[in-house]
């Protein structure tokens, strides 16, 4: 499985209040949430993002609330993968539980710039920056998490058990 797309780039500590502000949380309709994704940090994100695009960020992406609306709205908006130096822990588990691939790789996060075309191979964890011609080895998922991702989320994983 691969993700190929263009990159939206953000800095440190992108929190769940800017990914999807609380004022929209009286709905959990994924499409509606997606239309407000990132609005407080990047008002143009929702209109510009294309199916398959990637988000690359620095430290502690997704810090703050436990709202699963955050990874869900990004996935629904078309984001195929998020690469960051580190992720906040609840965001990390939420993304895995809903089957949104995320990879920790500080080198890639520092090298990749907004607009770069990037390819990620989930099986090998390899990240290839097509625009710059650079390649990075991302942290691969532990086996247990791979099982959840292969089952396309925690719900199926539990139902299959």
């Amino acid at each position: 499985m691969k993700a190929i797309g263009h990159v939206f780039k953000y800095g440190d500590n992108v929190d769940t209040d800017v990914i999807i502000p609380a004022r929209y949380l009286n709905s959990f309709d994924a499409q509606e949430l997606a239309s407000h994704a990132m609005v407080d940090i990047d008002p143009e994100f929702a209109s510009k993002v294309q199916q398959g695009d990637l988000i690359v960020a620095n430290k502690n992406f997704g810090c703050g609330s436990s709202r699963e609306h955050a990874p869900l709205c990004l996935k629904t908006a078309g984001v195929s993968c998020i690469i960051a130096e580190t992720f906040a822990r609840i965001f990390y588990r939420n993304a895995i539980n809903i089957g949104l691939p995320i990879i920790e790789c500080p080198e890639a996060a520092q090298n990749i710039e907004a607009g770069d075309e990037v390819e990620v191979d989930f099986d090998s964890g390899k990240i290839y920056n097509r625009t710059k011609g650079t390649e990075f080895q991302g942290q691969a998922f532990p086996e247990f998490m791979q099982k959840i991702i292969k089952a396309e989320g925690l719900v199926n994983y539990i139902n299959n058990k």
Binding site: N13, D15, D17, V18, P21, A22, R23, L25, N26, S27, F28, D40, I41, K59, N60, C63, G64, S65, S66, R67, E68, H69, P71, T86, A88, R89, I90, R93, N94, N97, I98, P142, F144, M145, G153, L154, V155, I158, N159
Partner: protein, 425 residues
């Protein structure tokens, strides 16, 4: 190899003799909690896995974020969990009138005690670590799976040990200590880790101080915050709960990534500036700046809406008048606290000073309703997050502080030192 407090609780709940940092485990759950934002979203996911929750006594719903309901959508959400709780015969569903902010309600109602393994679909679920429990926030899918199976997967965390010594000064409380600590280690300083609080200084912190500190462990990125159990913890549990509890202590040879000493006597009243809880400045640094004029003050939330918080704020506001440019919202965290405020005359103090005294709710804390801010406005808030747009407009600013700093600022009209209320005015 020795285990930390957290590791011991996780091992016991996974049915293992020992666990080590990094290990993936599946652990049994004692309490699984969701609110009116995360609960309704979990129900359809839960329905894919099970018709019934795993245990009607262990699954808890607290509508508190958009309640009393602020609009039709939130009313529909509350209705969904209300009907679900009824249909499933849940023991612990907290309807408006008996409710309040989840992280104040659960300890107060005796649902959470030492030694438990708890998940909640709310990031501040880490609050219950104050009682010596392992307690952590998760998302909707995790909570649905927890409600269906009574289990959750965890990666066993490593830990940072905080050794607390000394006695805090008269105007210093748990809020100042935890902002001081996050300022030191950063908002990702404890990422994926446990923050374990031990040391003889703990005896000088009230249970409310400990709830405040454990509450904000997530603001340092931690998986959980946990306090060692002492006499105060035992007394609190006896007063509030009939549940059996287990006291876990870290092994002598437990491994910590770091050991940090904090002398409580040296902690000053401390404020977190926009837009991160780790932007800590002592009140002395603040006083050295140009006065920061404010428009709103919020005293409440799962961080500082408990009885001793409101007593501390009232002690400052007694006989005083709120500055004419400032709106003040006082929000007790539970109905019980609300009633106690009436009994002790605190409501009169707040209202006479010119504060709005509100029904228990999350309210302004996350910009949901009751006190949403306009562009350019500044707020001193006793809540736990000062992210961009958290309390309203993206161009509003939040300064996190203790109830005493908040009360002093309400009177002064700018961020003020509670040690000298009225100075510079």
């Amino acid at each position: 190899m020795g285990m930390t407090m957290t590791q011991k609780i996780l091992a016991a709940h996974a049915g293992l003799d020992s666990v080590a940092a990094g290990q993936l485990i599946e652990a049994g759950l004692d309490v699984v909690m969701a609110n009116d934002i995360t609960g309704p979203m979990a129900l359809p996911i839960l329905a894919e896995m099970a018709d019934k929750v795993f245990d009607k006594d262990k699954v808890v719903f607290v509508p508190d974020h958009f309640t009393p309901n602020k609009d039709i959508k939130s009313a529909e959400n509350s209705k969904a969990i209300r009907e679900f709780a009824k249909a499933q015969g849940l023991t612990n569903y907290f309807e408006q009138g008996k409710s309040g902010v989840e992280h104040a309600i659960l300890p107060e109602s005796g649902i959470v005690v030492a030694g438990q393994c708890i998940i909640g679909a709310d990031s501040h679920t880490c609050t219950y670590g104050a009682l010596g429990a392992f307690s952590t926030g998760v998302g909707t899918t995790d909570i649905a799976a927890g409600m269906a199976t009574g289990q959750a997967w965890f990666k066993v965390p490593s830990a940072i040990k905080f050794v607390l010594t000394g006695k805090p000064g008269p105007y210093v409380s748990g809020k100042d200590v935890i902002i001081h600590i996050i300022g030191k280690i950063g908002v990702d300083g404890a990422l994926y880790k446990s923050m374990e609080f031990v040391g003889d200084g703990i005896a000088n912190l009230t249970m409310d101080d400990r709830f405040t500190m454990a509450n904000m462990a997530i603001e340092a990125g931690a998986k959980n915050g946990i306090f060692m159990v002492d006499d105060q913890t035992l007394t609190y549990m006896k007063e509030h709960s009939t549940k059996e509890y287990t006291v876990y202590e870290a092994d002598e040879d437990a491994q910590y990534d770091e050991v940090i000493e904090v002398n409580l006597a040296e902690v000053r009243p401390t404020v977190a500036f926009p837009h991160l809880p780790g932007n800590a400045k002592t009140i002395d640094e603040v006083e050295a700046m140009e006065p920061i004029k404010i428009d709103q003050v919020v005293i409440g939330s799962c961080t500082n809406g408990r009885m001793s918080d409101l007593r501390r704020a009232a002690a400052i506001l007694k006989g005083q008048t709120v500055h004419s440019d400032v709106r003040v919202m006082v929000v007790p965290a539970t109905q019980k606290i609300y009633k106690q405020c009436i009994a002790e005359g605190l409501v009169d103090i707040f209202i006479d000073a010119g504060c709005a005294f509100n029904t228990p709710s999350c309210g302004p804390c996350m910009g949901g309703h009751m006190g949403v801010m306009a562009a350019g406005e500044k707020c001193v808030s006793t809540t736990n997050r000062n992210f961009v747009g958290r309390m309203g407009h993206v161009d509003s600013l939040i300064y996190l502080a203790s109830p005493e700093v908040a009360a002093a600022s309400a009177i002064a009209g700018y961020i003020a030192n509670p040690e000298k209320v009225g100075d510079r005015s």
